[in-house]
C-alpha cells in the first residue's frame, strides 16, 4: 500500500513536471508541426490530430530531454512517421487518386491561366505524389533540411532522397507543363 502511494506520488510529480514542460514545447513547436503535417496530408484537421498524437507519443520521454534542439528533430520525425502511417492506413492516396483522376483530366485540358490557379493545380499534383516523394519534397523544400537529415527521417539513403525528390519534381513538371516523365 505504501509502495502504491509512493508510485502515485512519483507519477504525480513526473506528470506535473512533464506537463509544464509540454505546454511550453507545444506553444513553441505545435504551429510548425501542424504546418508540416498539413503540407504532407493536405487536411488541416487531420494535421492537427496527428500533431496532438505526436505530442502524446513523445510526452512520456520529456524528462529525459536534455538538448532542446533535439526535441524539434524528434517531433518532426514523429510527425512525418505518423503522417505517412496515416496515409498508408487510410488508403487516402488510393481514394485520392481515384477521386482526383477526373481532376487530372480537367487540369490537362484546362491549362492554368493565373498564378493562383497554377498554384492550386500544383497543390493537387503534389497531393497525388507517393507519400515518400511528397515527404521528401516537403522536408527538402519547406523544412530546408539537407538530404542526409531527410534520409534519417525517412530511414533511407541520401541517394534515395535525391531520387525521390527528382522523380517527384519530374512528375510535377509533367502534370503542370506536360513535359515527358
Amino acid at each position: 500500500m505504501r509502495d502504491r502511494e509512493m508510485v502515485t506520488a512519483k507519477v504525480g510529480r513526473v506528470a506535473q513536471a512533464e506537463l509544464s514542460k509540454l505546454d511550453e514545447l507545444y506553444l513553441r513547436h505545435a504551429g510548425g508541426a501542424v504546418r508540416l503535417a498539413y503540407l504532407l496530408l493536405q487536411d488541416r484537421s487531420v494535421a492537427e490530430d496527428i500533431v496532438q498524437d505526436a505530442f502524446v507519443k513523445v510526452a512520456g520521454r520529456l524528462v529525459h530531454l536534455r538538448d532542446p534542439g533535439a526535441f524539434d528533430a524528434y517531433l518532426r520525425r514523429t510527425v512525418v512517421n505518423l503522417s505517412r502511417s496515416y496515409v498508408r492506413r487510410k488508403m487516402l492516396e488510393r481514394s485520392f487518386l481515384k477521386r482526383e483522376s477526373a481532376a487530372v483530366a480537367r487540369d490537362a485540358v484546362r491549362w492554368p491561366t493565373s498564378s493562383l490557379e497554377d498554384r492550386e493545380v500544383l497543390w493537387r499534383a503534389l497531393g497525388r505524389l507517393s507519400e515518400r516523394q511528397r515527404a521528401a519534397i516537403v522536408l527538402r523544400f519547406y523544412e530546408d533540411l539537407p538530404e542526409i537529415q531527410v534520409a534519417e527521417i525517412l530511414r533511407c539513403r541520401p541517394g534515395t532522397v535525391k531520387s525521390l525528390v527528382s522523380r517527384g519534381l519530374k512528375t510535377l513538371r509533367h502534370e503542370m507543363r506536360g513535359e515527358p516523365e
Binding site: Y26, V46, L169
Partner: protein
Amino acid sequence: MNDVDDEVRELLRVKAQDIPPTLDVPRTLTTRVRRRIAVNALAVTATVVVVAAGAFGTLRAFHSRSSQTAHADTPCTSAHLRAVVSMEGAAGSREGTIDLTNTSGACTLEGTPTVKLLDQQGTPIVSSVTFESVPPGWQVAGSPQPPGWPVVSVAQDDSASVRVRWSNWCADGNPTPQWRIAIPGSGDVDVEGIDATTVPPCNGPDLPSTIEVGPFEPNAA
C-alpha cells in the same frame, strides 16, 4: 529546370500560412498526456514487479521441485475469458484496447486474435471491412518487451489486452455492429462496450471500414 523547384517552394510557403499560430494548449492534449504518463509509469512498475516475481519464482523452483507449473502453460479458452473494449478518438478513428479478463485458473494467451463485426442478426459483416494488424502497445510506446512475450500469462481475475483501432464506419442508418473476438485455438468471445461512442466517423462511404488488431500483451493498466 529550377522553375518547378521554385514554384514548389513558393507553394509550400504560401500553403503553410493556412495554419495560424498556436496560442493555447488543447485541454484534450493535457488529459491524454496525463493518462499516457500514468500508463507508462504503471507499465514500468508492473514490469519491475513481473521481473521480481519471475526471479522469485525461478529461485523457488530451483530450491524445490514442485508441480505447481501445471496450469502455467495451459492456453486460455474463450469460455473463461471476458472481453471489454475501451476506445477513444484519434485522428479520425477510434483507438484503444480490448481487455480480456481470465475468470478461471492461470492460463496463457499467444498470437494475434481476429475480430469479427456482426450485424443485428449475428451474421458476420464481411463486405467493405478490412482487417489489418498493428504492433503491440509496448512496442509503440517504446517500452521494453514484456518478459515472456509473445506468450502472455494471465492469472485468475487478471487480464491481458490487445490493441485495436477502428476507422471509417459509414453506418448509413444501420445500428452499431457488435464485435466478437476469436481466441486462437479456442472459440469466440463477445466483446462488451461497443456503443455509439466507440464508432469511428465516416471518412468515405466508398472506402472500406478498417479494423486493426495487435497481438496479446500484458495489460499495462
